[in-house]
C-alpha cells in the first residue's frame, strides 16, 4: 500500500521503533479529546445527551457542535470555546514522537518534509471529480457524506485517495449497492473487506463483538450502513434542490472477477485508505444522459 500514515512511514523508514510509535499514539489518545469529551470535561453536557447528539448526527449532516446547538444543549459561543480549547491542546503524532523521546524536534521537520514528498501522488486533500463528469457537485457531496458517515457511524481512521475514472471495479469479497434515480441516475457501490465489514457490523448492531453473528447479519449491517449514507445523500440533495430517489440496498454476488462499468455509464472510484490496511472503496456508476 503506497499510502501511509506518518507513524507507519517513520517505522518503515527505520527512524523509530514500533514500540515508540505505540507510546506516541497512547500519549496522543490521552491528550486529544473529542469534541464530546471536551464538553463533558467542561461540564456543559452530560454523557446521555452526547449519545443523543451522536444518533442525531447519523440522520442529519451536521458537525457535533452544530448539532448540539440545534438540539439546544449548548450555545454558539460555547462551541467556539470548545474548538479553541481543542485546537490549543491538539497533539500531532510527530509532536508526540518528540515528547516520548523517539526523535528530536530538529529532525521532525525533515521527516515531515520527506513524508509529504513520499505521499504527494496518493493523497487527496479535497474531493476533486475528473473534468467532463456531469453533476460534479452531487458526486462531491456523495463522497463527502460517505467519508463523514464512516467517521460518525463506524468511527474509524482513514485517508481518502484521489477520485479516478475506471472501466472495471476490482474483485472484492463484499460489495453492497443502492440505486439513485431522479435528478441523476446512478449505482452507489461500497466494497469492504471482511474485517471492515465486521467493524461496520459492530457499529450498526451496537455490539462489542460480532464473532458469533451469521454472515447474513454481517452483510445486512453493511447494507444498512449504505442505506444510512444514501438516505443522507437523498436528504442533502433535496436541500440543494435535487430530487434523488433511492432503491433498497442489495449485495452484489457477481464480483469474483471484478465488475465492469456498464455501457453508457461512467465509473468513478474513491479509494479510502484505512489505518490497518483494510479495504473500503466507494464506486459510482453514473448513467450517461
Amino acid at each position: 500500500m503506497p499510502v501511509k500514515f506518518f507513524g507507519q512511514f517513520m517505522v518503515e523508514k527505520g527512524a523509530i521503533t514500533r514500540m515508540a510509535l505505540l507510546q506516541a499514539i497512547d500519549l496522543q489518545e490521552k491528550t486529544n479529546l473529542k469534541f464530546g469529551e471536551v464538553v463533558i470535561e467542561m461540564g456543559l453536557i452530560g454523557k446521555e445527551d452526547i449519545a443523543r447528539i451522536h444518533l442525531a448526527q447519523r440522520s442529519e449532516d451536521l458537525h457535533f457542535g452544530d448539532m448540539a446547538v440545534k438540539m439546544g444543549f449548548i450555545t454558539e459561543d460555547q462551541v467556539q470555546q470548545v474548538l479553541t480549547r481543542q485546537r490549543n491542546s491538539h497533539l500531532y503524532i510527530g509532536e508526540a514522537l518528540v515528547k516520548v523521546g523517539a526523535i528530536s524536534e530538529q529532525s521532525l521537520e525533515k521527516y515531515l518534509a520527506d513524508f509529504k514528498q513520499d505521499q504527494a501522488g496518493y493523497i487527496s486533500e479535497k474531493i476533486e471529480i475528473p473534468a467532463d463528469v456531469p453533476h460534479q457537485p452531487i458526486w462531491e457531496m456523495v463522497a463527502d457524506l460517505t467519508y463523514k458517515m464512516l467517521t460518525r457511524v463506524v468511527g474509524i481512521t482513514f485517508r481518502p485517495g484521489p477520485c479516478t475514472i475506471i472501466d472495471k471495479m476490482p474483485a472484492r469479497p463484499i460489495i453492497a449497492e443502492m440505486g439513485f434515480s431522479g435528478s441523476v441516475s446512478a449505482r452507489y457501490l461500497l466494497s469492504v473487506s471482511e474485517n471492515t465489514r465486521n467493524l461496520v457490523a459492530k457499529a450498526i448492531l451496537a455490539e462489542d463483538s460480532v464473532e458469533n453473528e451469521s454472515v447474513e447479519i454481517l452483510d445486512d449491517s453493511v447494507k444498512e450502513f449504505v442505506n444510512i449514507v444514501c438516505g443522507n445523500i437523498a436528504a442533502k440533495a433535496a436541500q440543494l434542490g435535487h430530487s434523488i430517489d433511492i432503491t433498497p440496498p442489495e449485495m452484489r454476488d457477481d464480483s469474483a472477477h471484478g465488475i465492469a462499468v456498464p455501457e453508457k455509464h461512467t465509473g468513478l472510484m474513491f479509494p479510502v485508505y484505512l489505518s490497518d490496511g483494510e479495504i473500503f472503496e466507494l464506486t459510482i456508476f453514473i448513467a450517461d444522459r
Binding site: 443523543r52 444518533l55 442525531a56 447519523r58 440522520s59 442529519e60 457490523a201 450498526i204 448492531l205 451496537a206 447474513e216 447479519i217 445486512d220 449491517s221 447494507k223 444498512e224 442505506n227 444510512i228 444514501c230 438516505g231 443522507n232 437523498a234 436528504a235 442533502k236 433535496a238 436541500q239 433511492i246 432503491t247 433498497p248 440496498p249 442489495e250
Partner: protein, 119 residues
C-alpha cells in the same frame, strides 16, 4: 400488552427495533416481515395493534403497502420507518396516506417508545 408487527428488509434493523420494543414491557413483537407484500399478509394473519413499516424495501415498498393497508384496515396504527430523515416530501406522503407518524433511523430508544405509547 400491545402486539407489534415489524416489517423491514434489514434483519439488523429489525433486530434493533425488536430489542427496543420488547424492552418497552407494554409491547410485544409478534411477527416480522421483509417487504410490503409480507406486511399485508401478516397484518391479515396476526391482526397486530401497531405496525412499524420500513419505507424503502424490495418487492413492494412501504408506501405502496401502506396505501393497501389503509384501504383494508383504515384504523390500523402504522408508523413508517425511514433513513430519509430530511426528505420532507416522503414524510408528507406517508402522513397523507394515513401513517400515524414516522420513525427516523438510526433509532433513539425513548423516542421510539414514546411514539408507540402515543398511538
Amino acid at each position: 400488552m400491545k402486539n407489534v408487527l415489524i416489517v423491514d428488509d434489514s434483519i439488523a434493523v429489525s433486530r434493533q427495533l425488536e430489542k427496543i420494543i420488547d424492552d418497552g414491557k407494554e409491547f410485544k413483537v409478534i411477527a416480522q416481515g421483509r417487504n410490503g407484500a409480507e406486511a399485508i399478509k401478516l397484518c391479515q394473519q396476526h391482526k397486530p395493534d401497531i405496525v412499524c413499516l420500513d419505507m424503502n424495501m424490495p418487492v413492494m415498498d412501504g408506501l405502496t403497502a401502506l396505501r393497501t393497508l389503509m384501504q383494508l384496515m383504515p384504523d390500523l396504527p402504522v408508523v413508517m420507518v425511514t433513513s430519509l430523515g430530511g426528505v420532507g416530501d416522503k414524510y408528507t406522503e406517508a402522513i397523507r396516506l394515513g401513517a400515524r407518524d414516522v420513525i427516523s433511523k438510526p433509532f433513539e430508544k425513548e423516542s421510539v417508545l414514546d411514539m408507540l405509547r402515543r398511538l
